[in-house]
């Protein structure tokens, strides 16, 4: 870990040493530049002139250009707010791309202004400094952002400042370091340029799921490459990228990879495995993980078009270093500076550039060259989790599996097997509807629930910087839960009988007196009434019978017992009833559209009615059930003899209807007469409504005319539908009315027994025949093709006319900008534009 010099040394001469601990000079630590303030409290360095020197107490290379001091930071770095890079304030900010920061350590925020002109850094309130990167996902490509103090420097004109900004901070022309030093001293002042707010972040965007990140965390195996000073077990790149756009795996990816190794220092010199390795790297066995920035070739078809780097200005140690952080120091293998015309070795910026290898680092005056960067990071669980979070902040798939894991290997070899996305080794950064990530992630099967699981391209992200953020989504529950019905405590006794037992019971009722005599021994004729009353509580044994029902099923029955009426034991055997309710399930049919899921499959053209046994029919909206499974749960209530049908679209109840399933067998004449009267009233009511509906329908036809109806099907069907409403309502009332006396059966029960005992969806499809003779009864493919050719199929598509393939295209509201003749000789005149507009509205044949 780095050792910081106590602030008491500030302003005092400090000895500095080279890598071999040879004192090379002394200088005063600069105690008034911005690096003295949080988060840049780093005092373990010294620098004089063109040479870099290292203090012996420091573990990290860090230097500061003292002879040409940078412009001082005017104020402490305030970590409670976000410092954002933004464009000239006259131009609105396109979007905030992300923040990369850790509390107390700083870093920056990135704002996309969608061009590469100048940039300004300013505080951006009230956005808080975020702990994790929040990467906005967009299609916008930018080449980076940073800022220069010169923007606000009164010494220069604004235009000049802007020029400096552009030249100094754009990564493609970067002579900068992240601490605001510009490699080329200003020609006017000779001073290096500084960045007031110390931000520099380069970024680029990429399509959702365009890339796949694999973080292979390996642990140090204890051996090193003696020359390079790097662990031997990092010789194989473990970073893989998967382009879903091209279904192609790439062995390397310009993002990140973490290796568990032991490196305390940073080597930014040379590509690993090639010449120019970091001989200065000193293994430190006290640490066992290092993050490595590896950059490999990018496929030509990759959407990653621009350089990218993330940068952190604070600390190289594990605590403050973003995994894709920048570089803090530079040194060649022989302890001397690398190519740097200004000799400044300080903050380095890791840039990923289009090329063939290496992570390019940039610093003051350094030319573009391929570099591999090493950053120290302890292999603690916390750090590894942070790695995951940082990766998750990209909103992409990544894995923390090792290369030897089966899941990962399978991913590698079966890259286009999307089923592997749910592998337990796979993680997916959570992206909210605004396109932001916060470092949280899902894993394994949990990925399926992620917002961005199915996104194939960036355009599938719902994020649109132009639109306001979408409202929070509701939490939907698409399953209706049915409860089990327990036993119902009653004051009565219920027996399950066979038909023969019912007949015997009927006889028994008329033979009670004799039976009592036979079984009671000697009859006391003077007290016969009392004896009977004692048996039945009333003077009529039939009063003990509450109901007698028949059900179209084997009623679940319990133990056998004798039937008792009051206290009177008939000695006829029956079974006690076992259950209060019974469930029947009708299911298994997915309702498919008939006409290609077109408007013809839906109301008012197609009507659907569902018949449920014992409950009648109910009209369903095809839109509620097409493409879904239609299920019906019929619940039989043995207490009342009624039943309830629950109609479900998939598992969600969308309609209910009731009916009588039991045939109630009248046991007295009074009961039978009452029920008959009520049924007559109900049927008469339905008849009246039916007549009214028919009259209304006829009136509509005469008013609109047959031709009009035929050519305006919507109107016609709607009219018919309106006419039927009253009738439908009457039918509904009839089929849904409660039985006036629950113990006695209604006609619907008897009728229900007589017809279908299955649920049946009755569908009324429209016919294709027109009101002309000689036409086929239905549309056929040939007719439809002709119709499409002459009239065109109705649609609503935003796009170019040419994108519609061949055939007739009719458009509206065309954008007629730039209409020129085919040879582009002459633009269209106003009259021609009118004609073009009319032609497009009339239709064009491609």
């Amino acid at each position: 870990m780095s050792t910081q010099i106590n602030t008491e040394y500030w302003g005092q001469p400090v000895s500095v040493y080279d890598n071999n601990n040879v004192r090379t000079g002394a200088t005063d630590l600069e105690n008034s530049d911005f690096t003295d303030y949080p988060p840049f409290v780093r005092n373990d360095y010294g620098y004089t002139g063109e040479d870099i020197q290292y203090i012996d107490k420091g573990d990290l290379y860090y230097s500061q250009l003292i002879s040409n001091p940078v412009i001082q930071l005017n104020e402490p770095f305030d970590t409670s707010i976000a410092y954002c890079a933004c464009k000239n304030m006259d131009i609105p900010i396109n979007q905030i791309i992300g923040f990369s920061a850790t509390p107390g350590s700083g870093s920056g925020a990135v704002i996309d202004v969608s061009d590469d002109t100048y940039w300004v850094v300013s505080k951006q309130e009230p956005l808080p400094l975020m702990f994790l990167s929040r990467i906005g996902l967009s299609n916008v490509i930018s080449r980076g952002v940073s800022a220069s103090q010169y923007t606000f420097n009164p010494e220069y004109t604004s235009a000049e400042g802007y020029t400096y900004c552009q030249e100094s901070w754009c990564p493609h022309a970067s002579n900068t370091n992240p601490q605001g030093q510009d490699g080329t001293p200003d020609t006017n002042t000779g001073r290096g340029r500084s960045n007031k707010n110390l931000f520099l972040q380069f970024w680029r965007d990429f399509g959702i799921r365009t890339v796949f990140l694999q973080i292979d965390v390996k642990y140090f195996d204890g051996t090193y490459n003696a020359t390079l000073g790097v662990p031997n077990n990092v010789t194989t790149s473990s970073l893989y990228a998967y382009s879903q756009q091209t279904a192609e795996w790439r062995a390397q990816h310009p993002l990140l990879c973490a290796y568990a190794n032991v490196i305390r220092r940073i080597n930014v010199n040379g590509t690993y495995g090639t010449t120019g390795g970091g001989g200065d790297m000193t293994p430190d066995l006290t640490h066992n993980l290092v993050s490595r920035f590896q950059y490999g070739s990018i496929s030509p078809n990759t959407p990653i078009l621009q350089p990218m780097a993330m940068y952190d200005t604070n600390d190289l140690s594990a605590n403050g270093m973003p995994i894709f952080g920048g570089i803090r120091g530079y040194r060649s293998y022989n302890g001397t500076m690398g190519a740097n015309s200004n000799g400044g070795v300080s903050q380095y910026i890791a840039l990923l550039v289009g090329g063939t290898n290496g992570l390019m680092t940039r610093k003051q005056g350094i030319s573009t060259s391929a570099r591999t960067c090493w950053v120290e990071l302890e292999g603690t669980d916390e750090n590894i989790e942070n790695i995951r979070k940082w990766c998750a902040a990209y909103g992409l798939f990544f894995t923390d599996g090792k290369q030897t894991d089966s899941g990962y290997n399978a991913l590698y070899t079966e890259g286009n097997d999307s089923t592997r996305w749910t592998d337990e080794k796979m993680c997916l950064g959570v992206v909210d509807n605004e396109g932001y990530t916060d470092g949280t992630y899902t894993r394994g099967s949990g990925n399926e629930d992620a917002n961005n699981f199915d996104w194939k391209t960036a355009s599938q992200s719902p994020y649109d910087p132009i639109k306001p953020p979408p409202s929070p989504e509701n939490t939907y529950d698409t399953q209706t839960v049915f409860n089990s019905i327990g036993d119902l405590a009653t004051m009565t006794k219920r027996y399950v009988l066979q038909a023969g037992a019912v007949n015997l019971l009927g006889k028994q009722l008329w033979n009670i007196t004799a039976d009592l005599i036979d079984n009671g021994g000697t009859i006391d004729w003077t007290d016969l009434d009392n004896k009977i009353l004692d048996q039945f509580l009333t003077n009529n044994p039939i009063d003990c019978i509450i109901s007698l029902q028949r059900y179209p099923m084997e009623i679940p029955k319990g133990e056998a017992t004798t039937i008792r009426l009051g206290k009177y034991d008939t000695r006829l055997y029956a079974h006690v009833m076992e259950k209060t309710a019974y469930f029947y399930l009708f299911s298994g049919k997915t309702i498919n559209p008939k006409f290609g899921d077109s408007f013809l499959d839906y109301q008012p053209f197609t009507k659907m009615e569902l018949y449920v046994p014992f409950c009648g029919t109910i009209q369903l909206n095809p839109a509620d059930i097409i493409g879904r499974q239609l299920n019906v749960q019929l619940v039989v209530d043995f207490t009342t003899g009624t039943c309830t049908g629950f109609i479900m679209s998939n598992d969600l109840v969308i309609e209910t209807l009731n009916g009588n399933i039991a045939i109630d067998i009248p046991v007295t004449g009074i009961q039978a007469a009452t029920v008959a009267s009520q049924l007559n009233n109900a049927i008469a009511n339905k008849s009246n409504k039916t007549l009214e509906a028919q009259s209304a329908s006829l009136g509509n036809v005469s008013l609109g005319g047959l031709f009009r109806l035929a050519t305006d099907p919507v109107r016609a069907v709607k009219a018919a539908e309106i006419a039927e409403n009253e009738e439908t309502r009457a039918e509904y009332d009839l089929t849904h009315q409660n039985a006036p006396i629950h113990v006695i059966g209604a006609a619907s029960a008897v009728g229900g027994w007589a017809i279908d005992l299955q649920c049946r969806l009755i569908i009324y499809y429209p016919s294709g025949d027109v009101i002309r003779t000689g036409q086929p009864p239905e549309w056929n493919d040939l007719q439809l093709a002709r119709y499409g050719h002459t009239t065109g199929f109705a649609c609503c598509i935003e796009g170019s006319i040419g994108s519609m393939g061949t055939g007739l295209v009719v458009g509206t509201s065309p954008d007629l900008n730039g209409m020129v003749t085919n040879s582009q000789s002459y633009p269209a005149t106003a009259a021609e534009l009118d004609m073009l507009r009319a032609a497009i509205s009339e239709g064009v044949i491609l």
């Binding site: 006794k493 219920r494 027996y495 009988l497 066979q498 038909a499 009063d543 019978i545 509450i546 007698l548 029902q549 028949r550 179209p552 084997e554 009623i555 006690v576 009833m577 076992e578 029947y584 399930l585 009708f586 298994g588 049919k589 006409f595 290609g596 408007f599 053209f605 039991a662 109806l709 035929a710 099907p713 069907v717 005992l757 299955q758 649920c759 049946r760 429209p766 016919s767 294709g768 009101i771 009864p777 439809l784 199929f793 109705a794 649609c795 609503c796 935003e798 170019s800 006319i801 519609m804 055939g807 007739l808 295209v809 509206t812 509201s813 020129v820 040879s823 073009l836 032609a839 044949i845």
Partner: protein, 159 residues
């Protein structure tokens, strides 16, 4: 200024009317002595009986394609071709690139969810059919043996 005469059999709505049209005469110089309107020009050509087969032409100077709506043969042995501009062919490339809301298209090949008021639908003619949802749990049995339920007062109350 010349015109190329075509014999086109394409529908007026077609963007491409010339790729398979027969060329009646190419680069025929016009002999107009009066002004020419760009939208409804009259081109005077030296009389040639073959020209009467043409129904379409291209004028190079105006860079426009025209329908030949009619022709006159004047006493000066010239044929006067009365024309009207065809913006579809003249701007066909630009039309293809034009962004608009497409409300009808042949290439879709079937009705969509957009209600099509032009598609003939007979409101009185319906195809009535049904789909049966089978029982998947228990079955109804109208001849079940133990199918009677007697509810009485007396004895031990039960479920």
């Amino acid at each position: 200024m010349t015109v190329t005469l075509y014999k086109s059999a394409k529908d007026n709505r077609a963007l491409d009317k010339i790729s398979d049209a027969a060329v009646v005469a190419a680069a025929v110089p016009i002999q107009n002595t009066d002004k020419i309107n760009k939208l409804r020009p009259v081109f005077e050509l030296a009389m040639n009986a073959a020209y009467m087969q043409a129904n379409y032409l291209y004028c190079d100077a105006l860079d426009r394609y025209y329908y030949i709506t009619d022709f006159d043969i004047n006493t000066a042995q010239r044929i006067e071709l009365n024309c009207i501009i065809d913006v579809r062919q003249s701007f066909s490339a630009a039309i293809r690139a034009t962004e608009c809301t497409i409300i009808r298209a042949e290439a879709i090949a079937q009705p969509t969810k957009i209600i099509d008021s032009k598609l003939p639908v007979n409101p009185t003619s319906k195809i009535v059919t049904s789909i049966v949802l089978p029982e998947t749990s228990k079955s109804f049995d109208t001849n079940a043996e133990y199918s009677y339920l007697l509810t009485v007062v007396g004895g031990e109350p039960s479920a």
